[in-house]
Symmetry: D3
Subunit: 335 residues, 6 copies
């Protein structure tokens, strides 16, 4: 799994070109004071080699940007975010055209899941499909059965690079998502053995059953994993924690459900889990990214295997397999 300096440079060249870095563009590489990253040097050099004017900025924390930094970010054409800044001000900058690309995964995942134009094509095809749907219905053999009315919030997608003005993305990972209409989701979600809850970074060992009523989880039952999930959420003492956040499905043919089992906590950001093709990506907490008003610091991403996802009764994912020809490519063997 070792990657040479030259290979790393080549990977970055590819993604920066996909992100349309051009001569004269302003690229800002962003980090926190205590943010360790192996990518500072390669981000600076490869942006500059493409002709960009590049600067490197560190801010005190992921959670708050100093006021003086905001005009810098607005003046940027592309922000390479090596810290995954959570301050919503970064999204304000997108309104004036700034692109943002988050890069956190270790080198061998950046390489294995290297984005391609085809990732973008699949993701945009899925976004168009999702944008037209009025209701999402999800079922699984494990017992999931719930309805999410759609339309209040836009369909969105990620594909691993940031090419359009204002686009926010993360290298790597392709998936599509939207937010259900406020207060509208109803039904049962059964997280099955092997499903993943981020930020716990482990496979569930015992099923968890969630009863969802009018957009909020009202009951969490099961064995240890349910116990832990319940306790984790309870700490926040905040009802919004139980709301449904984004829902969608994974589109990365080179993302691997199995990858998480090879890494310790903190050694991966989890993009394999979020993006592997055909996962139903359920999540809890805020919907501000979609334009909603619900804000909470507790956000769980829950990739689920073996689900079927229907849009207005049309299957888009059947038992964990993406259906549309426009959204699939053959899975890759590991070499």
């Amino acid at each position: 799994m070792s990657i040479t300096p030259a290979t790393l440079m080549t990977l970055w060249q590819t993604v920066l070109k996909l992100s349309r870095v051009k001569p004269g563009e302003q690229v800002v590489v962003l980090n926190t004071y205590d943010g360790s990253t192996p990518y500072k040097s390669v981000a600076l050099s490869q942006s500059e080699i493409l002709g960009a004017q590049v600067s490197y900025v560190e801010v005190p924390s992921r959670h708050g940007l100093p006021d003086a930094v905001l005009p810098l970010l607005q003046a940027a054409d592309l922000i390479i975010d090596l810290a995954f800044i959570l301050d919503s001000q970064i999204h304000r900058c997108r309104e004036t055209g700034t692109r943002v690309l988050v890069i956190l995964e270790p080198p061998e995942i950046l390489e294995r899941m290297l984005p391609q134009v085809a990732d973008q094509q699949r993701a945009i095809a899925a976004k168009h499909q999702l944008a037209q749907a009025q209701v999402m219905h999800v079922t699984s053999a494990a017992g999931t059965d719930f309805y999410a009315p759609l339309g209040e919030f836009p369909a969105m997608c990620q594909y691993g690079f940031a090419d359009e003005p204002g686009h926010w993305d993360q290298w790597p990972g392709a998936f599509v998502f939207t937010f259900p209409n406020e207060g509208s989701v109803n039904g049962t979600v059964v997280l099955d053995r092997g499903d993943i809850i981020f930020p716990f970074f482990s496979y569930i060992q015992s099923p968890i059953t969630l009863q969802v009523e009018n957009g909020f989880i009202r009951e969490i039952t099961g064995a240890f994993d349910a116990d832990y999930m319940k306790a984790f959420m309870a700490q926040y003492q905040d009802n919004n924690v139980y709301a449904i956040s984004h829902i969608g499905w994974g589109l990365s043919h080179n993302g691997q459900w199995e990858a998480l089992g090879l890494y310790g906590k903190g050694e991966t950001e989890g993009q394999d889990g979020r993006a592997f093709a055909g996962n139903f990506l359920f999540s809890t907490g805020p919907n501000t990214v979609g334009g909603g008003q619900r804000s909470t610091p507790c956000h769980l991403d829950v990739p689920m295997r073996h689900c079927s996802v229907y849009l207005d009764d049309q299957p888009v994912v059947l038992n964990g397999e993406v259906m549309s020809d426009q959204q699939t490519s053959p899975p890759l063997a590991i070499v």
Copy 2:
């Protein structure tokens, strides 16, 4: 979870002031040769800013202090121990008034569990209560039911700073404990799913039943977790491994049972687990720290949830909730 250099300095100022570092005091910062710590610089600077004369010492190993270092430690007013030295000589130095403060947890845990005077007040109230008890009786729905006669050894407590001459503490964590009378504990301890065994740094997934007779565990039964615990203890080929060590309960309102699930092994020292309010902290092995004669290198700390602890039939913890008003404060929501 990123913490700025200035915030870290402020946290240290707070704890060093709680530890009563004064102008002219001798502060010795202690580490091992191979001991990596993020705190060397902040320990030196913040002690010096409070007016202390500060020195920094490295010793070969946690297990043995060179002879020449002993007079230095004795001459110290406060030892800031960044390695958790296990040589009992460090406790001899306390007899002449040296205070000791161990600091190992990562910055965001130091911040979240920042000690306050109220921690000390709760811990001392609990210590007084425990000092007067003649027997501790512990029960749980999972099947725990055992009696520990008390009185032979003193009641002790930790609260996260080292303010009194000879006091040993660790930042962070508030709890109270004593050692049962030698050879006196009898009954059953059932470690339940979700309880923690240190140094395994994971939640138990299957209950473990311990039969305790006259102060020693005589039977360990259950599934995989029991199997592992049994094998781990057997390696030492030492009967003292099975003795009961300290017993007590947690008092930190800002300690979180859930925290362990977010860290890889070795990324936290486990003070959340040991100190979260209302846990019954059971342990095995030596009782030398309490003044006993039983020594063994194998020491398991076992925070248990949902127990009830009675002192002379008075409940002090009921189903994992601390009872006494003097020992409680409202739990904190995560922001």
Copy 3:
């Protein structure tokens, strides 16, 4: 568990002397560009102190050696491989007498499992026994029952140092193994709770039943662990993944089954697991190291507890205990 610089040097002196490093010998210390190791300095200095001419080489990747490096490796008397190079060219160098010693484990495991001449004696006694056998039969209370005809491939062993021309070894670990005759293994292998699969670096929590027919695993059944194993292997889209690789048993009296539970993924290489005395070390994938033609990048090492291993109906391991006096020594207590 801290080890001083001087102790580390002494350990290395011991193993380099066991590996017969002599004045005037050519020692090559090998690493990858991005290969972090704590041993570069000690490898260089201790080899040189024994009188060797020493050089240090870095190659781009574990998977491919630059052509120019091959004559250097051939000219070496001993290669100290700090990266575990997988390029088969390294084995070509052994044909002209180059010895190879891989060293990856953390210092405290190097110390606890420090090789001795007795390790070599036990391993060679076992190798002689295995070399004469015509069939290996393995059973366990969990349900394992399979036959592996032997004789097509040589018996081999490791003992923690590289003393003979052309010998390849890893510090630490003593065990013996061979490869079953091509396409010949039949029966059932039941991986039990607590058995280990590398590179997953965790204990199995639910039994996995493998049906083996004519040298290949044809069915994998069980709960989550079986599910994960099946999915992991399927990614390679390669039938050879399911073949049986080397089989043998562990001989390290100082290897600990329990050790894995104390380390995060990536913090140990797993030599405790592979080598603890009496484990049946099952594995899957290639047999090229034994001289076979089957190659695949997917290789699982599976140490199993509580098995009985018979060679031509003679028990060599009974329920996880090594039988032969020549292959045993008393287990060590941890101090």
Copy 4:
């Protein structure tokens, strides 16, 4: 000469307070990619401790700021420049109130020459005196005798901190200067043995005689030092190199002419030399900082000892001694 972390923090607190860093202010710490500095951490922490919002920025080079960085610098209240940026854009930012403080000297010089309010008082008194003068006449026993008509450009001063909106300064160093009227200087300047030319960072060993005509040096004569100076300036192939830049005198009672002899080239920035009390600071090259039109990359700073400086025939420095009571304080003994 060793300085502890706490002492360094205290020095910075002093200077940042003199520079009026206040709660809520925007402080930007500025560096180049390859700019090594011991002050990144202390700059960030001490600014934040004073309540500022702080960010850290790196730019590719001292000679050009990326466009996106300009709005950040304009939004800053104080720029702490750890690289001495030469791009004139930094001075544009001052027009909207941004203060700039350059810090380059090693810690023991920052400490010995720690700025005080008295430095500012002396420097401002001198600036007022200089602002009213119409001609500066400088003589020395070595042969210097020249006249510089004044008035076209403003009088300016530095005193080691940046307290006023738009003020640019460097820690440490107090001196006063202006630029002679364009094309007006005439006479002879004799650099004597022991005078210093920056950036050569050495004492002149042989006198250099400069003939100045209408604002430009027209002849350079002498031995090796003259030879070297002449060759150095000739490389630029630019007539502006020979123009007279700023002229003024040093006011730092804790600056030492002798200090340069204790440092290797590159180990000090030379503020001792530029600022020691009573030196006549002559210089060559550009006058853009004063508001002139003459630009050239070659700028020599030449502190001269034992000169007498007259303003409109009034002596302000006599044989290297500052005359005005308002501009002097007793020299410090080294302890």
Copy 5:
């Protein structure tokens, strides 16, 4: 003078292409154990980007290569020597076609003196001229007047890159040289104020007169500089120290005599001094590089200004100016 990572990569690309690094070539980057260099990473990545197979090797010392390293160096197409290895074995490797390029100067000198094809053309033109000469006569106003019969040894040149099989060079620097016939040089060499002696890394302040008889310096007279030179050479207690080594002239239009005055000892390798156009490069000690038998560890390189060099009475350098149109280009102004 700051250079960005991307600029450094571009400079290396240029020189590696001039050195004809091609896909499939073997590039070996060579260093010593304790050899600090800023160029390891850029050497590896830029070679690999050109398609080379690259390895990195460290040897114990500049003075002796381990035997096992020799076949590696012979197998290399290009050795990038970051330590300036002095073992003559490195020159044996050149016999089988290995090219060698030494790189030691700091980045800003690599940039300012970036080699071009024109450097090579000038150097080769000068080499052809020198190869045909039978005697070199050198004079100077300072008193130099000596004759060196030529023809016994080949004419050689450097131009900053290594393009031909077996060529040895150093980036940067263009000059031409040969070795006088053994025992044949006679006359007087007067090192003048401002001339440079390497490895003293300073300008001579007082003239040194050398009387040369039959190839050896027989008298050294002058003031302090002569005293120091005499004492330095005497330490070796070796007559060969006084022999004449290579003689030739500098051809780098972008080399600067003045540069040395801006660097501390050890901050530059001195290629400016050795290569600035028109210097007469005199030297003392060995002639093995030219094919002679005289070996000694003491080697002084002495660039002299303002000399005239005649080959068979034809002036090739007159008073420090190169005469031949084929060997000159306009000097560069510093920008």
Copy 6:
């Protein structure tokens, strides 16, 4: 000049054995917080390999030891001082037997000047000779002629290792010295071109004449070097600066007067200069080390060449050559 890790270890073994480090001894390695040294690791490991109990201590500054550190230093058998602590408390520790060895020079000087028993023998022979003298008379062709009555203070010597209880030494360097009777020296000292003044770390280029009256320098005349020396001393505003400190002569046959010319300021500590055989080592300032009462922070060490030193009219050094057979060995050639 590169030294391998193994060679460095061997050198340290030699000197620690000469310093009689024994099993069970307490060795304390001493440094300052900001003290960079390449020797921490080798000091710890090589002391421990000799069986010592070793600890590592850092103190805030060279000028003041924290009180708590004093009992540690007193408990030490050997202090390895990597910072050259100036606090006189370190000498108090010697009274109870603690040995002290300062080590500051770069590796290649430690190697070239490696101490031997013969260094000790020469130094002790010289000390005995000096101890019996009543007056030292020093002359030189340059004009030195002064008398120093002796007897009030002991004769002392250094030889590069610390073998006797209470002995203080520095690796490397052998020389002998005493302090003249208080207020008794009279005459003229002429520092000649090429003599060295520490801490200026350069060769004098112009003679300096010192008039000494009753133990104090009363006049300093000459050109630039005299000017600089006078100014440097005047800064202290302290009459004791002008007193005569220790006087003696160098005894290191492997010390080189020439070495200083190859190093930048701060790259060497100057032990070559202080110790080269036959130098007359003159110095100014304090005499507390000899037991006197005169204290001042300004201390100049001045190695002078070509002097003759007479003790009670017997020549011990004649024109820079040591006379006594017991104090000489043949100078070494550089290889």
